[in-house]
Every structure is written in structure tokens, then in C-alpha cells.
Amino acid sequence: MHEPRSFRIFRVVVVVVLGLFTLVPLYVMVTSSIKPLGDVQGDFTWWPSHPTLSPFIDMWSTVPLARYFVNSLIVSVVSTAFSVLIAIFAAYAVSRYRFFGRRIFTGTVLATQMFPGILFLLPLFLIFVNIDKTLGFTLLYQTRFGLIVTYLTFSLPFSIWMLASYLEGIPRELDEAARVDGCRTLGTLFRVVLPAARPGVIAVAVYAFMTAWGEILFASQMTNDATKTLSIGLQNYSTQINVYWNQIMAASLVVSVPVVVAFLLLQKYLVAGLTSGSVK
């Protein structure tokens, strides 16, 4: 297609402006993570006076980062596992069977996306505190288990919806062929439908993991020193006497890299999953 000069100029402007806007914070994060402490306390410098890897070592001792890391990992992995498992069954039911309340179900799922988290935080807080009081020991409030339950409640609806729209795209003839070959419902699901739906399942898993890994609002009230996750734990670097910006940047980098890499590697599936429902 012929592109006039004005469009080319427009393209250069857009690419440069948005590219810089996106890139500069990432650049700051990476370069600051290899700066000695003196560099991040004085005037800003574009390049470390002498690059050092010590922030990556010191960050583990300034705050109990390893503990936060383990907490985040447990909470994210377990809630992802349950999210995927439950979503598989639920999505299969929604996409293959017609039952009463099916439309209401999908409507409700979309509605939960709309409500602010703060609306759920207060009741959940009270419910957790009171269940614990009735039980006589802390099962939910400020425990990892409570956090897992919480994250499940809001990653599950969207996971089901995403996976269901993926399963819709898998031809029903496949199910029927499996049935003719003697598979029962569960056999059909696990041996035939799921292998075909692998990209969808991966997308759901990454989505659920990212949700749990980056959640802040609930983690800020529903955790204590022992169960704190990374999203809240990283703020502890700035409550010390010194603000260890170089270590904060190093820690941010370490917690981001796995998620970003996973997202970028799987972006094809994820983008399809995220947009399928809304573009249709």
C-alpha cells in the first residue's frame, strides 16, 4: 500500500514517543539494579559509577525477601492449580451442555470483572475473622490458605469464561468421535478435548498466576509478617532508615523476569484468550 509522507512522519513520532515512554522505566530498573548504594542516593545518573552485582545479593538480607518469595510462590502456584482444575470442568460443562442458568452464569462472570475489589475486601475480611473466631484457630485470616481462597474467588470466574470461549472453538464432532470409540464423559474430556485445548489451558494458567503474583489490595490486609507476599514485602525496603533503591530495583527485576518472560513467550495464546470474548 502506498504510504504518504505524513503517515511516515506520524509513524516515526509514535514509535519514538511511545518507545521512549515504555523503555525509560525499564532501563532505569535494569541499570539501577547494578548501581552501588551511593549512586541511587545522590543525583540521578544514567550509568552506574561502577557496575556491581551486590544489590542482587544484599536484597535477600535487608528484608526477608526469600520468605516473601516463598509465600508468593505457594499462594500463586496453588491458586493457579486449583483455578485451572476447576475451570476445566466448569468450562467444559458451560461449553458442551445446555442447562438452566447457563446464560445467567456467564453474565455473572462478566459482572464480577466490573466490581471494584474494595467491595469484596470488607465483607471477606469480616467473614474470615469470624470464621476463625468460631473455629477457635486461625484458618483464613492472614494465612496463606485464606489468600489462596481469596485469589481463587476472583481468578476463577474469568478463567472459566476464557476457557469456555476457547472450548467453543473445538468442534463437537471430536467429542462425538471419542464417544463412538467408547470414551465416557471424563475420558472424552481428558483424552480428547483437553489435548486439543492445551493453548487455552496454558493461557488460563498464566492469567491466574499473574493475577495472584501481582495482587496488592487483598494482600495488604490479609497477610501478616509471616505470610506477606512480594507485592507488599517489596515496600519494606523503603521503611528502613536508608532507602535501598538499588536493592528495590534488583528485587523488582527478579520478581518480574519470570512473569514477563512467560507472558511474552505465551503472548499468542494469552492475547487470543483475553480478546476472544470481547472482540466477538
Binding site: M1, H2, E3, P4, F7, F10, R11, V14, V15, L18, G19, F21, T22, L23, V24, P25, L26, V28, M29, V40, G42, D43, F44, Q113, M114, F115, P116, G117, I118, L119, F120, L121, L122, P123, L126, V129, M210, W213, G214, I216, L217, S220, Q221, L230, L234, Q235, W245, I248, M249, S252, V255, S256, V259, V260, F263, L264, Q267, T275, S278, V279
Partner: protein, 274 residues
């Protein structure tokens, strides 16, 4: 959620946390306090509401413009297109707190990049301003939120553009339409259904945004950046008045329902007429 609505009717304060069923029933008193705009609590709520609206309009508007421009220029292949696409998606895939913490470092008064560039490199400003307190906090917060949310607009618009058949553009080219005319008349028109959903999602996320101010400023942001979610949070967990916080949440929910309902009604009717 029903518990939340019930909570809004009782005077649940720090005295009753342990046995909340005994908190006195006060009917609509919490609501009366919340919407009494001459009282200090009502006034603060109204202020927070205004800030949220302003914030939402700026962030959603710019996010859409950025996303649309980027999707438009990346539509036709050129070298480095795939790399740029990936780069643009990084802020969206970053854990929220990691991205926002980096911004808060950049916005520090004495050792941040922003003041370094503005004051020392470009000499636009004579003295270093504070970006994270006072009125500047609002703009800082909006820029950070924009950085995070425009890639999502980009993603959705790009996916929408791919579903527009090439034949339409070819036909338009044959008829002598310039690329600008094609963008205006074909792309924008065909993207309408995507935009309707996109704007709604961006609106809901931005209006309810809690993460950006919380990571940038901590639990008590400066008044200029007091978004509604964090305002409710403060009333509940800092002032320990859960009943009032719940009443505000219910009001927020009603507002969102009305706005979303009206929006969907208007956009549906228009698309039916078209």
C-alpha cells in the same frame, strides 16, 4: 456481597470487630453521613469522587489515543515491527508493584530521573519540584497509570484490526482513499464493537484503581491523588469504621451500575440504528 450491604447498615466500628453481630443497627445513618456534602466526611468523599472522575477521563482517553496510534502504525509490516510490539506489551505484563515502584524511584525529588532530566539536563525548571506530594501527585499518578494501561488498549485494538478483511482496504484504495481517510472511515468504523468494550473495561479498571496510588504513595495518598478505592480503604482500615466504608462501597457500586447500564444502553441503541 450481601454481607457487605448488611455491613453498611450497622455502626460497625473498632469496638465491634470481634463480635460484629452485636453492632447496633443504624439504618441509613452511614449513608446519610457519606452523602452529607456539607459535613467533612461527605466533602472528602465528594472530593475523592471528583479526583477519580478526572483521573479516569485523562487516563482512559490518552490510553485509547496511544493504543490506537500504535496499532495504526504497526498495522503494515516494516522492519522491527514484531520487536516493538513485544516491547509495548512489557509494561502490561510486569507485576503492577514492580512497575509502579520503578516510577516512584524515577519521581523522587532528589535522586529521581524526572527531576534530573527536567532540571539538570533540559533546564526547563529552575528548582526541583516534589512529584509525589501536593498537586503534582495527581499528574504523576495519571502518567504511571497510563504507562500501565495503554498497552492493553493497544492489544485489543490490534486484535480488532486483524479481523477487518483486507478486501475492504483494497476496495478503498482503488476508489482513491488515502491512508488517513481509510483509517478514519474504515478502521474506526469497523473497530466500533471493540472500542465499546475496551472503553468500558478501561473505565472500570481506572475508576476503581487502587494499586497505582497505594504503591506510589502508601495507604494515605495526598489529597490530590485520593482515588475512590483508596479513600474507602482508608475509612475502613485506617479509621476502622467499617460500616461507613461499606456504605461508601455500596454507593460506588450503584454509581458503577448506573454508568455501565446507561453506557451499554446508549451504545446498543446506536449500533442497532446504524
Amino acid at each position: 456481597m450481601l454481607v457487605g450491604i448488611w455491613m453498611s447498615f450497622i455502626a460497625l466500628t473498632q469496638f465491634f470487630i470481634a463480635n460484629w453481630s452485636q453492632a447496633p443497627f443504624v439504618g441509613l445513618d452511614n449513608y446519610k453521613i457519606a452523602v452529607n456534602f456539607s459535613g467533612s466526611i461527605g466533602q472528602a468523599l465528594l472530593h475523592s469522587f471528583t479526583v477519580s472522575i478526572l483521573y479516569t477521563v485523562i487516563v482512559v482517553g490518552l490510553a485509547w489515543v496511544f493504543g490506537m496510534s500504535a496499532a495504526a502504525v504497526l498495522q503494515n509490516g516494516f522492519r522491527g515491527r514484531g520487536g516493538l510490539r513485544t516491547l509495548f506489551l512489557v509494561p502490561y505484563s510486569l507485576p503492577i508493584y514492580a512497575g509502579v515502584i520503578t516510577w516512584s524511584f524515577m519521581l523522587q525529588r532528589d535522586n529521581g530521573l524526572v527531576n534530573h532530566v527536567l532540571v539538570s539536563n533540559l533546564h526547563i525548571l529552575g528548582s526541583s519540584p516534589f512529584w509525589l506530594i501536593g498537586n503534582n501527585a495527581f499528574f504523576s499518578m495519571a502518567i504511571v497509570a497510563l504507562w500501565r494501561s495503554w498497552p492493553f488498549a493497544f492489544l485489543m485494538i490490534m486484535a480488532g484490526m486483524q479481523s477487518i478483511p483486507d478486501e475492504v482496504y483494497q476496495a478503498a484504495s482503488v476508489d482513491g482513499a488515502s491512508i488517513w481517510q481509510q483509517l478514519r472511515h474504515i478502521t474506526l468504523g469497523m473497530l466500533r464493537p471493540v472500542n465499546v468494550v475496551l472503553i468500558l473495561m478501561l473505565f472500570l479498571w481506572t475508576f476503581n484503581d487502587f494499586n497505582t496510588p497505594f504503591v506510589l504513595f502508601g495507604a494515605t495518598p495526598p489529597p490530590s491523588a485520593d482515588l475512590i478505592s483508596i479513600h474507602i480503604y482508608d475509612n475502613s482500615f485506617i479509621n476502622w469504621n467499617f460500616g461507613l466504608g461499606a456504605a461508601m462501597s455500596v454507593l460506588l457500586l450503584l454509581f458503577l451500575l448506573v454508568v455501565t447500564g446507561t453506557y451499554l444502553l446508549i451504545t446498543n441503541r446506536r449500533s442497532r440504528r446504524a
